[in-house]
């Protein structure tokens, strides 16, 4: 029977949660790198025991750790994330220009085919790639050097490149999202980039429909249909049917359309999950009730999923990288909260159970299916 492994990054270490295919009984391993902030842990689709972890610290900076045995042991690899060429300037919070300055890696996205190739999204926003298992990192400079770069401005969490989607069909096509610049796409392996924000409306910026400046929180796609993208924006849940060429709002009957994560069912390309929170200044679920919302129509019509989730006195948030699905026949859905709980559903969201309740604040969750 297949096994499932969850890779959980928290404010104070990494954890792995493992179960058999029934996904009822879980073993918790960790903390790995106790005391360090783990923004993301992700596994290679081509070699699931090859894991990469972004390990950072306010004291000691950025480290990347790699495991070749599914997280049993780890080795520090390269951490030289330099901005190549002219560093340039972006806008600071006060509107003054400020040089790009590296702070941390938010997201690691291994290649679908090569376990030694992995992309990394940085703060201040930049995209890096390693083709030697994380030893050396090269910036794909054209993104940061996009003509709009000097107008990019950090969101409240920093000017981070937090989402990387690798097109499963076209190896030269990559989607990224940056807070608070917006979404971008390359069709030539990173040599050129275009903003893909047409149709987004953001009330918090002077020109609501500007080419850049939108606070995109997360993008998701189904691998069978990579031209369809789903987006959780600061406010608004959005959909594009033309690889980001244009967007339309699909918030529909959601109780609030503010949130961070968004995920697509592993086998149903029009089944989408979001976890709304109250507002931009109230980062907790509405009404004290933890509800995952599912649309089976590709948006617009949403249903709350609550069985097994706390429905009173709950005031947690779920961060942008902290929801994932597995690929078993009955799709598993998982998310981790700012309160340290990791919840799982082995039936596409119908019912939920806490896998672990008292971790540090969860920053990221990834799901792997192992033979």
């Amino acid at each position: 029977m297949s096994r499932v492994r969850l890779l959980v990054g928290t404010r104070k270490g990494a954890f792995t949660l493992t179960s058999d295919g029934k996904r009822r009984d879980w073993q918790v391993s960790g903390p790995h790198f106790g005391g360090w902030e783990i923004y993301h842990v992700n596994g290679s689709p081509a070699e699931p025991d090859r894991l990469y972890a972004s390990v950072s610290s306010g004291w000691f900076g950025q480290v990347i750790q790699r495991s070749d045995d599914g997280g049993a042991s780890w080795t520090p690899v390269g951490n030289d994330f330099a901005y190549t060429g002219e560093v340039g300037e972006h806008l600071w919070y006060d509107g003054t220009p400020r040089p790009w300055e590296f702070k941390r890696i938010w997201h690691l996205e291994p290649s679908r085919t090569d376990p030694d190739t992995v992309y990394a999204g940085g703060e201040d926003a930049a995209l890096y790639v390693s083709s030697d298992g994380g030893q050396k990192w090269q910036e794909l400079t054209a993104l940061r050097q996009h003509e709009s770069g000097p107008r990019w401005q950090p969101g409240a969490g920093g000017m981070c490149l937090h989402t990387i989607l690798l097109d499963p069909v076209d190896p030269d096509r990559i989607f990224v999202a940056i807070s608070a610049a917006g979404a971008f796409r390359t069709d030539d392996g990173g040599n050129t980039w275009q903003p893909i924000n047409r149709g987004l409306r953001s009330g918090g910026i002077p020109d609501e429909e500007a080419e850049v400046g939108h606070c995109v929180h997360r993008l998701a796609m189904h691998p069978s249909r990579p031209e369809v993208l789903f987006m959780q924006k600061h406010w608004d849940v959005m959909r594009s049917d033309d690889a980001g060429g244009s967007w339309r709002e699909i918030s529909g009957n959601l109780p609030t359309d503010f949130g961070f994560p968004i995920a697509v069912h592993a086998h149903e390309a029009d089944t989408v999950y979001v976890i709304p929170i109250t507002s931009d200044s109230e980062h907790y679920v509405p009404d004290g009730r933890l509800r995952v919302y599912r649309s089976r129509t590709g948006g617009d019509e949403w249903e709350p999923l609550t069985t097994g989730l706390p429905q009173a006195n709950c005031y947690v948030n779920v961060l942008r990288d902290a929801m994932a699905v597995d690929t078993l026949d009955d799709c598993g859905v998982y998310f981790g909260t700012t309160g340290g709980q990791v919840y799982g559903s082995a039936d596409g969201g119908e019912t939920w159970m806490p896998i672990v309740r008292d971790l540090p604040t969860v920053l990221s969750v990834e799901a792997q299916v192992l033979p």
């Binding site: 004291w59 000691f60 900076g61 480290v63 520090p76 951490n79 330099a82």
Partner: protein
Amino acid sequence: MIRVVLPPHLRNLAGIAGEVRLDVAGTATQRSVLDALELRYPMLLGTIRDRYSGKRRAYVRFFACAEDLSNSAPDEPLPEPVAAGSEPYLVVGAMAGG
């Protein structure tokens, strides 16, 4: 022989138990000690100081002989007891937070 004490997180990162003992050619300075440390443990590059500018990370401190050397010039000779190995050179994670 120079004795270097690292904070626990960096000892874990580099797989170090206890003190590090380094041989440093010529006059022992903060720069030459950290150069030798990073040469032996390259995973520490960037964790104590910027790998290119050499600037100390904001929340790292350098102490020795009950003195704070954090803002001393990196090429100043270290105190004699450190150079002689009778006192350690301390790399410290600064007190930060509440």
